[in-house]
């Protein structure tokens, strides 16, 4: 390790301990560390945005393309310029034009993404569980697949039904239909809890891995220091 690495490792060591101090209780040093972190990460984001988008996609096209493309590439430049007025509260209204443009595009992108990216593929995937080749012999594995398929189908339907917002009966008496929906919703909740439990375990093991990574770093650093001192 060279000197820069030693200094870096020491810094990393101290910062790790400062963040871990939150486990004992919230303290000013922890908050200072957090703020430094916010600053550094924002700095990286800004630099990557400038290097990767603002320069090559906003400014470069103006200089290298042909005239019709140059005119076209002026539009985002103007919109981006207008957007910068949002920094000052007094002139913020100028930026409403590009913001309304962005909101329109993003709402459409959200709808388009949800339909083509989630709705259609997920519905198709649920159907495909039952795609058993007609010429295939019906053996145990196919049977198992079908049973699992049915469970997934019930789970999906029940979970979807759980979200039902409107009530089909007034508070006093429940219609049969309402009772049926409620029952389905209960089953859906169990599936939801199961899914969340699985995800939770995954998140926890990811977090544990991060913790182990940090602890290993701390131990290694101490070992290195001791090695250096003892020789």
């Amino acid at each position: 390790m060279n000197l820069a690495d030693w200094i870096g490792a020491f810094l990393g060591f101290v910062l790790t301990l400062l963040v871990f101090s939150y486990l004992i209780g919230d303290n000013p040093l922890f908050r200072i560390t957090l703020h430094m972190f916010i600053g550094v990460s924002a700095g990286f984001v800004a630099v990557v945005a400038i290097y990767n988008i603002i320069l090559p996609r906003l400014f470069v096209p103006i200089f290298i393309n042909n005239s019709s493309q140059q005119i076209l590439s002026l539009f985002p430049l103007i919109l981006a310029g207008l957007l910068f007025s949002k920094i000052s509260p007094r002139f913020a209204f100028i930026g409403n034009l590009p913001m309304s443009y962005l909101v329109g595009v993003s709402a459409a992108a959200a709808i388009g993404g949800a339909v083509t990216g989630t709705l259609i593929p997920q519905v198709l995937a649920s159907m495909n569980l039952f795609a058993v080749q007609s010429n295939q012999a019906f053996d145990a594995s196919v049977g198992l697949r079908l049973v699992n398929g049915i469970i997934i189908l019930i789970g999906t339907v029940a979970t979807l039904a759980y979200f039902q917002f409107g009530k089909y009966s007034q508070a006093s008496e429940k219609t049969q239909f309402q009772t049926w929906i409620d029952g389905l919703g209960q089953i859906g909740q169990v599936f939801i809890a199961l899914t969340f439990g699985f995800l939770f375990a995954g998140i926890l093991s990811a977090a544990l891995t991060a913790l182990i990574g940090r602890v290993l770093f701390l131990v290694d650093f101490i070992r290195d220091i001791l090695g250096l001192l003892i020789g």
Binding site: F13, L102, V115, G188
Partner: protein, 205 residues
Amino acid sequence: MRNPVYTAIAIGVGIVVLLGYFLQFDLLINLRIILLEWATILVATTLLIGVVNLFIVHWRKSTTDQPNRVNSIALLAGLTITLGVAGWFGPTDPYSLWIFNYILIPIEASLMGILSVVLIYAGVRLLRRKPNLLSIVFIATAVVILLMTGPLFGIDIPGLAELRIWIGKVPAVAGARGILLGVSLGIIAAGLRILMGADRPYGGN
């Protein structure tokens, strides 16, 4: 009354982009590509505005005499140094990587590490806070999955590993799919409210 121009822009642009998703006409597709390209650049611009906003907020805080100003100064220092170093040398230069490796990663990874304690704490308290069937199912699943994720000292509990795989393949998929479908219904509704001008989060009152 809101400025109708902004609403018209949002709706007009939105409809063109939306139709471009579903209808494959050349004109529509090209128009959609251009509109999205501009939007992408604008999003990057808002990112920069976000950084400026962060800077201004903390600049103000650090120049007024208030107890938390040292936090703001730390933030400004981190931001300026990173902007200076990574901006000058480039984001993947060894100097920038030094900051990334020895400041950003230790803090963020440690925060993620703390998360494990926070999550266990939440798990421990869940049953007390919400003593119901769902909490029991949640905790039981989490425990089984956790146990079977690690090597468990090489002990093989019959059936448990299979149970873990089965949960991941069948019921968890069902739950996730139901939630995702529900969420996409919500997304479409929220998007359509914007496209019909019912929600107008952009300014211009």
